[in-house]
């Protein structure tokens, strides 16, 4: 039972980090990123490939993944962030799918659909295998605390104030001398770095990665977590991640008691999540921790 709880918290922690990156982009800057998972994949594969084949220290390979994802975020943002919001959505989802096909097909590098395993994990020689998950939970939660506090600090700073002003009204921000475009690029790059960090952690947790870990649905899990908790509310993201994965894993228990095949339970789960979102939108459209007053303030 404890093992089970640890597993849920691990995955919820990793996805909380992942969704915090999206919340920075969407909740605070108003950027529509539909390819967040692509940056997660960049983090996971970069970390694994560097540490496994080239013996690069783990911490360095995690940082390398983050830097690469940040650069890619900026690279995608520069041509699109001057255009209407939906262009970024199209380009990012395209990017994440192209990347997944590259990972599937460039077998010499990524081992294609079979994926990669047997790569090093942090402190694997020091921590006994039976308690590794518990140890890794501590690692994930520490990273989560750092990322959460860092983002909170940033969004309460004048820098974050500019981001919020862009979310609210770009023209006003511009009229006050703010370089809107540059802040959007920064937000997207930083959000992508955070996604990459979550990707590295996911790889360590899974011990085995393949392109199927990075399907577009993962991006929408992050969106569900953000919307569930309340866009622009980092505490809400934490709560959303726990609720989402709690439910997701809990529904596996249901399988034992329901006369359904695993595939059917999988489909039921997705249906049920959809239903929950519809109910949420009807009764608490601002998300669980979102502020009600803000809804009436839309332009």
């Amino acid at each position: 039972m404890i093992d089970y709880l640890v597993t849920i918290l691990l995955i919820a922690g990793i996805y909380a980090i992942f969704a915090l990156g999206l919340n920075l982009e969407w909740g605070f800057t108003g950027l529509l990123n539909f390819g967040h998972v692509g940056f997660m994949a960049v983090g996971a594969y970069t970390t694994v490939l560097l540490s496994m084949n080239n013996g690069v220290p783990l911490l360095l390979s995690v940082l390398a993944g983050m830097v690469l994802a940040g650069l890619l975020g900026a690279f995608l943002g520069i041509p699109t962030l001057k255009l209407r919001a939906d262009y970024l959505a199209i380009v990012t989802i395209g990017f994440s799918e192209i990347l997944r096909y590259l990972l599937l097909n460039e077998e010499w590098l990524t081992n294609g659909p079979i994926g990669l395993c047997g790569f090093p994990r942090p402190f694997q020689d020091l921590v006994p295998i039976q308690s590794y998950n518990l140890f890794f939970l501590v690692v994930v939660l520490s990273v989560l605390v750092i990322i959460y506090s860092g983002i909170e600090l940033l969004i309460r700073s004048p820098w974050g104030r500019v981001l919020k002003s862009i979310r609210e009204n770009e023209e006003i921000a511009t009229s006050l001398g703010k370089h809107v475009f540059s802040y959007k690029v920064q937000s997207l790059a930083l959000g992508s770095m955070i996604a990459a960090l979550a990707g590295s952690l996911l790889a360590f947790y899974l011990q085995y990665i393949n392109p199927r870990n990075f399907m577009p649905i993962e991006t929408f899990y992050a969106w569900i977590i953000v919307v569930l908790g309340g866009s622009g509310n980092n505490k809400g993201v934490l709560l959303g991640a726990v609720l989402f994965w709690g439910f997701f894993s809990g529904s596996r228990f249901a399988q034992e008691y329901l006369p359904l095949s695993p595939t059917q339970v999988g489909s039921m789960r997705v249906m049920f999540i959809g239903l929950m979102l519809i109910i949420l939108m009807m009764f608490r459209p601002q998300g669980i921790l979102g502020k009600k007053e803000e809804l009436s303030l839309e332009r």
């Binding site: 600090l153 700073s157 004048p158 820098w159 500019v162 002003s165």
Partner: protein, 259 residues
């Protein structure tokens, strides 16, 4: 060298078939208040958009302190001290009134991500000063009780006030105000006019679009009249207002003057 703060030379702009601004020339002397009037759709707001870089002109030049600013991105024009407000009252709705104000000052240290992460004490200190200033400006505009409310909860008139107050936070050289008194009650408008005169004494230059003729009379050193995209006439407010053609343009009726 020219003493004018702003010189608009031969500026034209069409939207499809409509000539919104047609070969406009306009000068604003340093430390003066210039009024810009004209009927609805005359092209006043469009001229503002062009001056502040929000729209590109089809032809013509705009000199701000003797530098041609046409083609410069609008945020850079604002950083040079040429700051505008919008005709439609707009606010950063899901930010508090105080946050709206604190966004104003340009090139704040804490607007750079590295400074936030590495020089927090300095950022914090600057932030305190910005806050003090914001509160005192809000007080002047009778908005202090609203400081912690969402800006989206303000009335249209209050949003107008807030946008004017916010531009003052930028330490502007010159302000372009698009109908600053629309929706603001007469008492407060009077107070604002007094304050605009004070700000002029402190060295700020103004170009103001306003439909309220009495306000324009009280405020301006010079008035320009725009009609169908063209500057029809300009001069002292008293002379311009009594101009027959101006009345005609405004009221579409020559007899109005006599009546």
């Amino acid at each position: 060298m020219n003493a004018d703060m702003l010189r608009v030379k031969g500026v034209s702009k069409s939207f499809g078939g409509i000539k919104a601004v047609d070969n406009c020339n306009l000068n604003v002397e340093r430390k003066s208040i210039v009024g810009l009037i004209g009927p609805n759709g005359a092209g006043k707001s469009t001229l503002f958009e062009i001056i502040t870089g929000f729209e590109q002109p089809d032809a013509g030049e705009v000199f701000f302190r003797n530098e041609n600013v046409v083609g410069l991105p609008s945020f850079k024009i604002a950083r040079q001290g040429l700051v505008r407000t919008f005709q439609i009252p707009q606010a950063l709705n899901k930010m508090t009134v105080l946050e709206n104000m604190m966004l104003g000052p340009q090139l704040q240290r804490g607007e750079k991500i590295w400074n936030v992460l590495l020089r927090w004490p300095q950022v914090k200190k600057e932030e305190r000063a910005v806050r003090e200033k914001a509160l005192s400006v809000l007080d002047f505009f009778d908005l202090l009780p609203m400081a912690d409310e969402y800006a989206g909860a303000l009335s249209g008139g209050q949003k107008k006030l807030l946008s004017l107050a916010r531009t003052l936070m930028t330490d502007p050289e010159m302000l372009l105000l698009d109908e600053p008194f629309a929706g603001v009650n007469p008492t407060l408008s009077k107070k604002l006019i007094g304050h605009i005169h004070e700000l002029k004494e402190e060295g700020i230059t103004f170009l103001i679009i306003e439909h309220g003729i009495p306000y324009i009379m009280e405020l301006s050193d010079t008035v320009y009249v725009l009609n169908k995209g063209e500057i029809m006439t300009s001069g002292e407010p008293g002379d311009v207002i009594s101009d027959r053609c101006v009345l005609e343009a405004y009221l579409g009726d020559t007899d109005a003057q006599g009546g």
